[in-house]
C-alpha cells in the first residue's frame, strides 16, 4: 500500500510540507511573489491552467481555504467545481475512494481535498492515475501545507531571514494540522528557534521530536519571540477533559497586549483563522498594529496560485492519452 513516494510523486502532488527542502519552499514563495501583482491588476487572470478542471473536494466545512483556492484557480484560468461531500455521496455510504474515482471519471485534472481524517489526501493521491494531481487542503490533524506555506510567505515578507527568527506557536497544537505544517516548513527554512506553547494536555506526545521546544508557561514561551502564531482552540476535535474552561484558558494562554509585550517589540501576530476572539486572542491584539492576520488571507491566494502552477508545470507536456 504505502510506498515511499519518489520525486515524481512529490512533484505531482502537494500533500505535506514535511518533504520540502528550504530551497523548494523558497522557490514556491518566489513564485507567489510574482503572483501578488496579478491580484492587483485590473484583469486578474493568467492563462497557466486554461482548460484544466479543478475539483475542490471538501469533506469538512471551510470558508477561507475553499474560497482562496477557488480564486487562485480562477486567476490561473482553470475551471473550478466545488463539492461539499459531507452532505452528498459519502452520507449515502459511498467510500472515499469511490467518490474520488467517480469524479476522476469526469476528467478532473486536479483535486483540492479537505478531509477530517489524517492521511485522507495521501490515500487519494495513491489511488489516482498519473496525470491527476492532488493538493491537500487539510487532513485531520496531519497537515495543511498550503496554509503552512502562506504563513511562511507572510513571515518572510514581514521579518525576512528565518535564520534570525524565534517563532512561538501558541495553543491547541495537539489538534492542529496547521501547526505541524508550519513546524516542518520553519525547520526546513532554518529558523533559529521554534517553540510550541500551550497546556501540556494540548501538546502532542513527543512534540520535541519535531524539532521544537515545548513550553507550558506563556511568559517564557513568548519571551523575545519575533513571530507569534496563535492557534484556534478546536473544540470540535476535542474529546474529554483537555482544558478546564474557556476562561481559565484565556487567563493562561490568551494573547493580550500585556502578554504580547513579552515578545520582541517588532513581533508580528498571526492566526490561521477562524479566530475565537476573547478565547485565544484579545480583540485589541487581533486588530492591533502588530497583527498580520488579514494579510495572511490575501497572501493565501498568491501562494495557492504558486502551488497550483507548480503542479501544472510538473505535468506540462503530459496529458491524457485518451
Amino acid at each position: 500500500m504505502a510506498i515511499e513516494p519518489d520525486n515524481a510523486y512529490h512533484l505531482r502532488h502537494f500533500l505535506t510540507t514535511e518533504d520540502l527542502s528550504g530551497g523548494a519552499i523558497g522557490e514556491i514563495l518566489d513564485t507567489a511573489e510574482s503572483f501578488i501583482s496579478v491580484g492587483e491588476r485590473e484583469i486578474k487572470k493568467v492563462p497557466l491552467l486554461r482548460g484544466k478542471t479543478i475539483v475542490n473536494l471538501f469533506f469538512e466545512a471551510s470558508t477561507r481555504t475553499r474560497t482562496t483556492f477557488e480564486i487562485a484557480g480562477k486567476r490561473l484560468s482553470a475551471d473550478i467545481i466545488n463539492i461539499n461531500t459531507s452532505v452528498s455521496s459519502t452520507q449515502k455510504g459511498e467510500s472515499l475512494l469511490d467518490t474520488v474515482r467517480n469524479l476522476e471519471a469526469m476528467h478532473t485534472d486536479l483535486f483540492v481535498v479537505r478531509h477530517p481524517l489524517s492521511g485522507a489526501a495521501d490515500l487519494i493521491a495513491r489511488s489516482v492515475p498519473k496525470h491527476v494531481h492532488v493538493v491537500n487542503a487539510g487532513d485531520g490533524r496531519h497537515a495543511h501545507p498550503t496554509q503552512g506555506l502562506l504563513d511562511m510567505f507572510t513571515i518572510r515578507r514581514y521579518k525576512g531571514d528565518f535564520r534570525r527568527l524565534t517563532v512561538a506557536i501558541v495553543g491547541d497544537v495537539l489538534h492542529s494540522r496547521v501547526a505541524r505544517s508550519q513546524i516542518h516548513a520553519l525547520t526546513a527554512l532554518g529558523t533559529k528557534e521554534v517553540r510550541v506553547v500551550g497546556p501540556r494536555s494540548l501538546l502532542p506526545a513527543a512534540v520535541e521530536s519535531l524539532g521544537v521546544s515545548a513550553h507550558t508557561d506563556m511568559e517564557t514561551g513568548l519571551a523575545g519571540a519575533d513571530v507569534v502564531i496563535m492557534l484556534r482552540l478546536q473544540f470540535e476535535r476535542m474529546s474529554g477533559a483537555l482544558i478546564p474552561s474557556a476562561g481559565e484558558y484565556f487567563s493562561l494562554y490568551g494573547l493580550t497586549r500585556e502578554r504580547l509585550a513579552r515578545a520582541d517589540k517588532d513581533a508580528i501576530v498571526m492566526h490561521p483563522g477562524p479566530m475565537n476572539r476573547g478565547l485565544e486572542i484579545a480583540s485589541d491584539v487581533a486588530d492591533g498594529p502588530q497583527s498580520v492576520i488579514l494579510p495572511q488571507v490575501t497572501n493565501g491566494i498568491a501562494v495557492r496560485m504558486a502551488i497550483l502552477a507548480r503542479l501544472a508545470g510538473a505535468s506540462a507536456g503530459e496529458g491524457r492519452t485518451s
Binding site: M1, A2, S95, G140, R177, A205, A206
Partner: protein
C-alpha cells in the same frame, strides 16, 4: 491409515527431542518414534529428508470471522489456511456475531471445523453474556462444550466489580481466563502507538499506559481471586516487566504476543500504511526488543498469529477508518523461524512457543510428538524461500504487511489426527 515419516529432523520441544529419525502414525495416534511398533505396515511412507518434523502448531488467537463476518473469512477458509500454515489447533476468541456465549455456539464451531476437515477449533467462551460486560455467561456449560477457557474478546469490562465476580466465578470452576490488556478510556480514540510517529502523522495515539493500567488492574484481581489468567497480546516493555514480576510473586499468569509484534515498530506506519493499523499497536524499537527478550526468558509464554483477516476494502481507507489487524495464519511459522535466524532464541524454544508452551498453558494434550498422543504433525522445509501474496495464501484475508516479502521456511505437509490434512502442491 498407517503413515511412516522417515529421514526427517524430528523436533519435539516438549521432550527435548531433536534427532534425525522416523515417526510412525497409526489410527490417528503417534505409534512410534525411532523404531516402528511391532507389525507396523505403512500404507504411505513420507520421505522427510531435509524437512523438519515438529508438532502441529497451536495458535492461541485466530479470528475466523464466522459467524457474523463471512465476507472476511469462514470456518472453512480459515481453518484450511491454518493447516496450510502448519497449525492444527487454534483458539478463537468469543467476539463473533453472535458471540460464543452458549454451549451450542461453541459446539457448532467445533463441529463445523471437524466436518470440513479443517484445523481443530478450541473456542474461548464468553466471560459475560453477549460480551455485555454486566452478566456472567454460562461458563461451566461453555467449558463442557469444549471451550479451553473464557474471555471477553475485545470488549472491555469497565466495571471492576463485574470483572472481579467473573474472575472469582471462573476461579471456582478452575477455568483459564483470557484477558485483553486494553484500558478502554485510554485506547478508544487511538489508532497507533502514542509517540513520535503519531505526532508526525497527526493520528490519535494509544499510550503505553492503556496496556499497563489494564494489566495492573487485572493482576490485582487475579492475585486476589487466585484465578488462572492469560494476557492476550502484550505489546510493550513495561507490560512484559509487569508480567515477569507477577510471575515471580507466584501469580498464575501467562502471556502471549502476536508474532508480528516481534518485528514491527511505530516507524513502519510510514506514510499512513494501513497494513500497520494494528491492535495492539506496533510500539517502539525498544519495546520490540524487550518483547523478544521476554520471549527468550519465558516471561512471554507463547507467540500466536493473532489472525484478523479483512477484505481489501477494509484497509483502503484513511488510516483511522481502516480496520485493525493482520491475516497471519500462514506467516506464523516462517516469522517464528526468523527469530532463530536473528539469534533471539534457539530453534527448540522458537518451536516450543507455538507448540508445547501454548499447549501447556491451555492444559491440552497436544503440541508434542510423544508416543500415544494425537498425530498432529507439521513438516516444513527450513530452507525454502517463498513470498506470500494475497493470491497465493489460503486465507480469505488480504491484509498483511508481510505479503510480498520473502519468507524462509515453508510448510510441506500437515497431518491432523493422523490424516494428511494439507500437502503443498508441486514437486518436492
Amino acid at each position: 491409515m498407517n503413515i511412516a515419516i522417515v529421514g526427517g529432523r524430528v523436533i519435539d520441544p516438549a521432550h527435548d527431542v531433536d534427532a534425525t529419525t522416523s515417526l510412525f502414525v497409526r489410527d490417528g495416534i503417534i505409534a512410534g518414534l525411532g523404531e516402528a511398533p511391532s507389525g507396523f505396515m505403512p500404507e504411505r511412507t513420507i520421505n522427510a529428508d531435509g524437512l523438519v518434523v515438529c508438532p502441529g502448531l497451536i495458535d492461541l488467537r485466530a479470528r475466523l470471522r464466522e459467524p457474523g463476518c463471512e465476507h472476511k473469512g469462514t470456518v472453512e477458509t480459515e481453518t484450511r489456511a491454518a493447516l496450510a500454515g502448519g497449525i492444527t489447533q487454534l483458539c478463537c476468541p468469543p467476539d463473533t456475531n453472535p458471540a460464543i456465549d452458549t454451549a451450542v455456539a461453541a459446539q457448532w464451531l467445533i463441529d463445523r471445523a471437524r466436518s470440513l476437515g479443517g484445523a481443530h477449533i478450541r473456542p474461548i467462551g464468553a466471560l459475560t453474556r453477549g460480551l455485555n460486560a454486566t452478566h456472567l455467561a454460562d461458563m461451566h456449560a461453555l467449558h463442557k462444550a469444549g471451550c479451553v477457557g473464557v474471555g471477553n474478546g475485545l470488549m472491555p469490562i469497565k466495571d471492576t466489580a463485574v470483572l472481579r465476580h467473573a474472575l472469582e466465578y471462573a476461579a471456582g470452576l478452575g477455568l483459564l481466563v483470557f484477558l485483553t490488556p486494553e484500558d478502554p478510556w485510554l485506547s478508544q480514540a487511538g489508532v497507533m502507538h502514542e509517540g513520535r510517529m503519531a505526532t508526525r502523522l497527526g493520528l490519535a495515539g494509544i499510550p503505553e499506559s492503556a496496556e499497563t493500567i489494564e494489566i495492573s488492574r487485572a493482576l490485582m484481581l487475579i492475585e486476589e481471586t487466585g484465578v488462572r489468567a492469560h494476557f492476550c497480546g502484550i505489546s510493550s516493555a513495561r507490560s512484559a516487566a509487569l508480567v515477569a514480576e507477577a510471575k515471580r510473586r507466584g501469580a498464575m499468569v501467562t502471556a502471549d504476543t502476536p508474532i508480528h509484534q516481534l518485528y514491527v515498530t511505530e516507524d513502519d506506519v510510514g506514510i499512513f500504511d494501513t497494513n500497520y493499523r494494528l491492535r495492539p499497536p506496533a510500539r517502539t524499537a525498544a519495546d520490540r526488543d524487550a518483547l523478544r527478550a521476554a520471549l527468550a526468558t519465558g516471561t512471554i509464554d507463547a507467540v500466536c498469529s493473532d489472525h484478523q483477516p479483512h477484505e481489501a476494502d477494509a484497509k483502503e481507507r484513511p488510516f483511522s477508518d481502516a480496520e485493525p489487524g493482520i491475516a497471519g495464519l500462514e506467516t506464523l511459522l516462517p516469522l517464528t523461524l526468523r527469530l532463530v535466524e536473528l539469534g533471539i532464541v534457539p530453534l527448540t524454544t522458537a518451536l516450543a512457543a507455538v507448540t508445547a508452551r501454548p499447549a501447556a498453558l491451555l492444559g491440552i494434550p497436544a503440541g508434542t510428538l510423544a508416543v500415544g498422543r494425537c498425530a498432529d504433525i507439521c513438516l516444513y522445509d527450513p530452507r525454502t524461500e517463498w513470498t506470500p501474496t494475497p493470491a497465493s495464501v489460503h486465507t480469505r484475508g488480504c491484509n498483511s504487511p508481510f505479503f510480498g516479502t520473502t519468507m524462509r521456511g515453508q510448510v510441506a505437509m500437515t497431518l491432523h489426527e493422523g490424516r494428511i490434512a494439507y500437502e503443498r502442491p508441486g514437486p518436492r
